[in-house]
Amino acid sequence: MLQDLIQRITKIQVILFCLLFNYFLKAEVDYLGDFSFEGRYFLEDGFLFQENFHSSFTFSPEIYFESDDGKKSFTFKPKLRNDSQDEERDLIDIQELHWVLTGNAVESRIGIRKEFWGVTETFHRVDIINQTDSVESFDGEDKLGQPMINISLETLSGSIDFFALLGSRERTFAGRFGRLRTPIVVDTDHPIYESGAKNKRMDFAIRWVKFFDNLEMGLSHFSGTTREPELIEDLSTLTPRLIPKYNIIDQTGLEVLYILGGLAIKLEAITRSGQKDRFSAITSGFEYTQIGIFKSRLDLGWIIEFNHDDRIENSPTSLGTRLTFNNIADTQILAGILWNDNTNEKSTFLEASGRIGDCCKLSLEGIVFSKGSQKPNILDIQKYKSPFEYLENEDFLRLEFIYYL
């Protein structure tokens, strides 16, 4: 019986190995990826005297190969990050390790992947498959790899994706010596899970997307471990801490994109239950691009987005502009402001980036926070109605140099 099992396992392994070997023989292997250096300089001292200069290295190689004219492919992309100050910002993550098998109107993707949902630019309400690597960048667009089985069907009435998500990932939070952190440190080593299976719970999601000429629509549902943990205050230990609590949630999302001449009208809305009361959140706005401003080859894009979140008394509005130079170096300047009408809280950012030769890219970014009329209270997290209160002294400049392998 046992021998039989062992034999069977070895057989499967041998077959898998042969398949892999077959892949290697048939396909040309692509080695890609990048290596980057980042320096961040904070203009003011941290409230707990954290350092002002933080640097980090990130190495993210990628192996890719395909066969059958791209109908079958394999991707492996780990990510390693080392930070000079904050060990919570060190990272070893498998961003991608998956096979893709393409049939006629069906695609199966098995393994660790990244999957993006949504249409808006400043807040991503609907996007939920991957956990956010929140310490990587301030915009929250960097994600951790998610193990899954994803079947994607292309039908006449749109494409439908089914996801079985094998476990979940914990959000990253800055540590004791990190910057851009909550006044009380988040203890990522002792998270609380609602599910008995903790982070091994199998979650499910489904998404339907269809486009009709000028209209694109998406409807999705996610049932599983939340990606956005509640932070529970724990004052029982010597040093107070915040403990992330991962509830089981149900979230339904709607995405709409409508193109009216040169204007894109966007909407993302969710309703979520499982974390305290059911709530809704909406981000909606416009995008417009002026082509060839000042009789030049420069384009100037405008974005304005409004937010609503049942959990917050008043949500901020964001305005962004993007100046595209349309040159060989792909130079871009992004500027934006996020403000709250009622509290006068503001964050302003400017980011310039461009390629250097064919190998490299340089970007420079600066963010200034202004807490507005709220009074900070370092000891009581519940009184923080908005994140900007503790970001008041966290204005920073960031320089990133990327070398593409």
């Binding site: 890609l32 006629n104 695609e107 994109l257 349309n326 060989i328």
Partner: protein, 262 residues
């Protein structure tokens, strides 16, 4: 009174005659371009490797490489997928287009770094494409229905007898007010296009070279050059390798195929 009537009739006559002449010129122009279109169609589908050379005013060259897949669609515009291979910073970036005969094209861009498919607003097609002298509009299919035509004259170009036809884009969001097209009389192939911007200024010239006939039915140029007269820059798009009738289908031109293109 009689005089007035006579003048009125004369006026009507001239008007009719004029419109007859204009109509004829328009039809002749349309017929010529229809023939060039027919010469390019019937390929079914194609797969190519392309090299784009960006040449600045000093003559310095920067190269980009990409792959493309095209699918001929009956009774509508063709479908295309362009995938960038270099520079490495944008490798995997891909552009999917569904051209339409009259309606604006549907286009999506895939950004691999954030795994995001973004719809391109079709109005924004007149700007430079990837720092090149081609705009998205220049690289789109020039469907017959997207222009009005007027035959202008016969002219020698490159030792070839050519027709010169003016075509005016019907799309109000086009970056051009008019285009002059040189079509050779032997094979009915577009040899040169002069592009006039919104201020009717002769902005760019496009040259088609190295035409070859494939599968003894349709023609393809080996190289397209775009010269910008305003900034002195030019871009050469060279087709390194191409194959036809590979059996591509609609499912090779979906958002999923956009995401899996590397």
């Amino acid at each position: 009174m009689f005089n007035l009537l006579k003048r009125f009739f004369l006026f009507i006559l001239i008007l009719n005659f004029n419109s007859f002449l204009v109509g004829d010129q328009n039809n002749y122009g349309l017929e010529i371009l229809k023939k060039t279109d027919k010469n390019m169609s019937g390929y079914g589908d194609s797969q190519s490797r392309l090299v784009m050379q960006l040449i600045n005013a000093k003559g310095e060259i920067t190269e980009r490489s990409m792959r493309s897949k095209l699918l001929e669609v009956e009774d509508d515009g063709d479908k295309s997928l362009f995938v960038f291979e270099s520079p490495r910073a944008i490798k995997g970036t891909a552009l999917l287009s569904y051209a339409h005969k009259v309606e604006p094209d549907d286009q999506w861009l895939y950004i691999p770094a954030i795994k995001r498919v973004k719809r391109i607003i079709s109005k924004n097609k007149s700007g430079p494409f990837l720092g090149s002298e081609f705009s998205v509009e220049d690289l789109s299919f020039q469907e017959i229905e997207k222009f009005s035509y007027k035959y202008l004259r016969d002219e020698q170009y490159n030792n070839q007898d050519c027709f010169v036809v003016e075509r005016v884009p019907l799309d109000p969001y086009s970056g051009y007010t008019k285009q002059l097209v040189w079509v050779d009389k032997t094979n009915y192939l577009i040899q040169k296009v002069e592009l006039f911007d919104r201020k009717a200024f002769h902005l760019k010239s496009q040259f088609f070279r190295g035409y070859k006939r494939y599968l003894s039915s349709f023609w393809r140029p080996g190289e397209i050059e775009m010269i910008n007269h305003q900034n002195g820059k030019s871009t050469i798009l060279r087709i390194e390798e191409q194959s036809f009738q590979n059996g591509l289908t609609d499912s090779d031109f979906t958002q999923n195929s956009l995401k899996r293109s590397k």
